[in-house]
């Protein structure tokens, strides 16, 4: 395999990882602050993508579509937080898993009811379409580079938010000790709604960005959700740094595993069976990675407790 191809694949893995981070950041924040497992996070990703596709269809503007995705996902997040999620904070994980599993069913079929069963159209804006030439003669899609840029920017924003702002201080206080923030005179329920809406908005943004190069359809959030869970478990639940490291790790493992494993198996197997066995192992690779990490660090790479 040529160096150029390898670099391109690493970029692909990075882009995938950055996208996962947008999902995982919300999940891990919500878990860290509120102690909640939210299986419905993938539905918020889907809400973002559908809102973006709908608005792009009406107005033709990708920028407006992104704004709509953020707004719709944040609103949907705030709504379910107020109606359902806040009743789950002091429940055990089992109730949380079940209730948010129920939310997935409602969101998926509700979206299908609203938008029909066919995938929607959402395209990359003309200005970002097509490839550009990178140093070293690598031809790479501009839009994917933009995704990497936006993702890293958002990551920096989230780190800044947590480290430097008032709400960040409150979030960190909440992670350390939930009773503490009440003692500090912070309106907990407002903080929770805000954190939840923030996580939802990040998921919605991811859905809209990815929707432009993938298929906007019902159920699109579930595979991403499971990967995002793998990410935060690897990184250590509640840790933003862990989410970032985990995302990149999973993105690279998944991309490079799919590329490198089949030829690797080809070195000691028949070509035809190597392709399918290699692909089979590649599709299991991130789960193997996760199990491996948990065996040596049962609470993830950056897990505190």
């Amino acid at each position: 395999m040529s160096m150029i191809l390898l670099i391109e694949q690493v970029l692909n893995g990075l882009q995938f990882g950055v996208m996962l981070f947008l999902m995982a950041a919300g999940l891990t924040l919500i878990f860290g602050v509120m102690g909640l497992i939210n299986l419905a996070h993938g539905s918020l990703y889907m809400v973002g993508a559908f809102a973006a596709a709908a608005v792009a269809g009406w107005t033709g503007s990708f920028a407006l579509a992104l704004v709509a995705a953020l707004a719709a996902a944040a609103a949907a997040g705030a709504l379910i937080e107020l109606l359902v999620i806040r009743r789950l904070y002091d429940r055990d994980h089992l109730d949380q898993v079940l209730a948010t599993f129920a939310l997935i069913l409602i969101f998926s079929e509700g979206t299908r009811w609203l938008f029909g069963s066919f995938p929607l159209f959402l395209d990359v804006p003309a200005a970002l379409a097509g490839p550009i030439m990178l140093p070293g003669g690598i031809l790479y899609p501009l839009y994917r580079l933009v995704i990497i840029g936006v993702g890293l920017l958002v990551a920096a924003g989230v780190f800044w938010l947590i480290a430097k702002t008032r709400i960040g201080i409150q979030i960190r206080a909440g992670e350390a000790d939930r009773e503490m923030i009440a003692a500090l005179g912070i309106d907990i329920s407002r903080l929770y709604t805000m954190v939840f809406a923030l996580g939802a908005a990040l998921a919605g943004l991811a859905g809209a960005l990815v929707g432009a190069i993938q298929s906007v359809q019902v159920g699109m959030g579930e595979p991403v959700l499971i990967l995002a869970f793998v990410v935060i478990v690897i990184g250590g639940i509640g840790s933003i740094k862990g989410a970032l490291v985990g995302s990149i790790l999973v993105g690279l493992t998944d991309t490079l595993g799919g590329v490198l494993l089949p030829p690797l198996f080809g070195t000691f197997m028949q070509a035809s069976s190597a392709t399918s066995v290699g692909s089979a192992v590649a599709s299991m690779s991130i789960y193997i990675l996760m199990v491996g990490v948990l065996l040596f660090k049962p609470s993830g790479l950056f897990g505190g407790k």
């Binding site: 040529s2 150029i4 191809l5 391109e8 694949q9 692909n12 893995g13 882009q15 995938f16 998926s108 079929e109 299908r112 029909g116 069963s117 066919f118 995938p119 929607l120 159209f121 395209d123 990359v124 379409a129 097509g130 490839p131 031809l139 899609p141 501009l142 839009y143 994917r144 990815v210 432009a212 190069i213 993938q214 298929s215 906007v216 359809q217 019902v218 159920g219 699109m220 595979p223 991309t255 490079l256 799919g258 590329v259 089949p262 392709t275 399918s276 692909s279 089979a280 590649a282 599709s283």
Partner: protein, 379 residues
């Protein structure tokens, strides 16, 4: 999910067949298809096509059930339709894996099964049954035709891609069976994968002149959008499944110029097809897909047999079905001895008609195409 559609007011002329019914001859049809969850669009089209063709036939009673694309649900619905509803004929399954579960269960209980979409190789060969008729295609047909067309049209080096599951690997095997050129790369992706950046990079790095792929549903949409954005300059070919009307709307301009093989296209020039396309648009307000065409043909076939024999007489009804005496929207249509179609497979190209992205026939890829599994079929 249960829609009991009892259709009244027969109008034989409306069927364009112009024949008289045999006396009595009522038939109860059970349709099990995918109406909810992922892939529901395909089942809805098959249902709508079937209902359109059967409209006005009071001898045909239709019971529709939703399999949710789950094999276990499909098998249970089969039992239900046979045991409780006492249907005579089953139809509707979209997916090969569900067909593999339902068809043996139906024929083992002595019921006819007309497949409006899936055609797994096992059911065309060793597992064939006198009661099983495939009105769509054997799974390999579009791929074999694609390989033939590519060989005859100066394509030398292809890169193959499909999901790593049986329909995917079988399809690529079908292509390789008829393709004379060189396969320079072959990638099997994870089922349900949505990001194809890694594969596109491999395609770019290869010296293939053409990418031939099969990625059904959302996978194909994702791939095409990403491929168009990558600036890789290679021909794209595939079976019709990734370029059907329901999907083209979501891909948009990115699909323009793609060649795909199909047994049907809305511009096939015959009276039955013109009527079908016009009626379908009038009834449902959207362009028909090939799934709708298959549903429509299935109902036409069934009604042609109902005109000739009583379903209670299985041998006679089977013989009537074998004649395939109906005006298919595909033009010429006949059954091979293994009850799978002998039909022309066309090459289509994705074009833009006004604002609508759609398909246009550019030639015949394989005329009177027939599958290779019939030799194993002993019935």
């Amino acid at each position: 999910m249960k829609l009991r559609t009892l259709i009244a007011a027969a109008s034989i002329a409306a069927l364009g067949a112009g024949m008289a019914y045999a006396d009595g001859g009522k038939v109860k049809v059970g349709m099990i298809t995918t109406l909810s969850g992922g892939g529901a669009g395909l089942g809805i089209d098959v249902r709508d096509g079937f209902v359109l063709a059967a409209k006005g036939n009071e001898n045909l009673e239709l019971v529709i059930e939703d399999d949710q694309r789950k094999p276990d649900v499909a098998v249970q619905l089969t039992d239900k339709l046979i045991q409780s509803e006492k249907v005579d004929v089953l139809t509707g399954i979209i997916w090969s894996n569900l067909a593999m579960a339902v068809v043996p269960a139906a024929t083992a209980q002595g019921k006819f099964y007309l497949s409006p979409n899936a055609g797994p190789s096992a059911l065309a060969g060793k597992g064939c049954s006198p009661l099983y008729f495939n009105v769509a295609w054997q799974n390999d047909a579009f791929y074999e035709a694609g390989g033939l067309w590519a060989s005859e049209n100066g394509i030398e080096k292809v890169f193959l891609m499909a999901p790593n599951y049986p329909a995917g690997t079988d399809g690529m095997t079908g292509f390789k069976r008829t393709f004379k050129g060189e396969v320079v790369g072959e990638v099997y992706t994870k089922l349900g994968q949505t990001d194809y950046a890694a594969e596109i990079a491999q395609i770019r790095a290869s010296d293939a002149d053409t990418v031939y792929f099969f990625l059904p549903g959302g996978m194909g949409i994702s791939f095409m959008k990403q491929f168009a954005g990558s600036g890789v300059d290679k021909n794209v070919m595939g079976p019709a499944f990734s370029f059907d009307q329901g999907i083209l709307g979501a891909i948009g301009d990115a699909a323009l110029g793609v060649k795909n093989t199909s047994h049907w296209s809305k511009d096939i020039d015959n009276a039955a097809n013109k009527k079908f396309v016009a009626d379908f648009q009038a009834e449902y307000g959207r362009l028909p897909s090939l799934y709708a065409a298959q549903g429509y043909d299935t109902a036409l076939l069934l009604q042609s047999a109902m005109g000739k024999a009583d379903v209670a007489d299985a041998a006679a009804f089977q013989a009537a079905l074998e004649e395939a005496d109906f005006a298919s929207v595909r033009g010429d249509f006949a059954f091979a001895p293994n009850h799978h179609p002998i039909q022309d497979i066309y090459m289509r190209e994705v074009i833009k008609e006004g604002d609508v992205v759609t398909n246009k026939i550019v030639g015949v890829a394989s005329s009177d195409h027939q599958d290779v599994y019939g030799a194993d079929c002993k019935m």
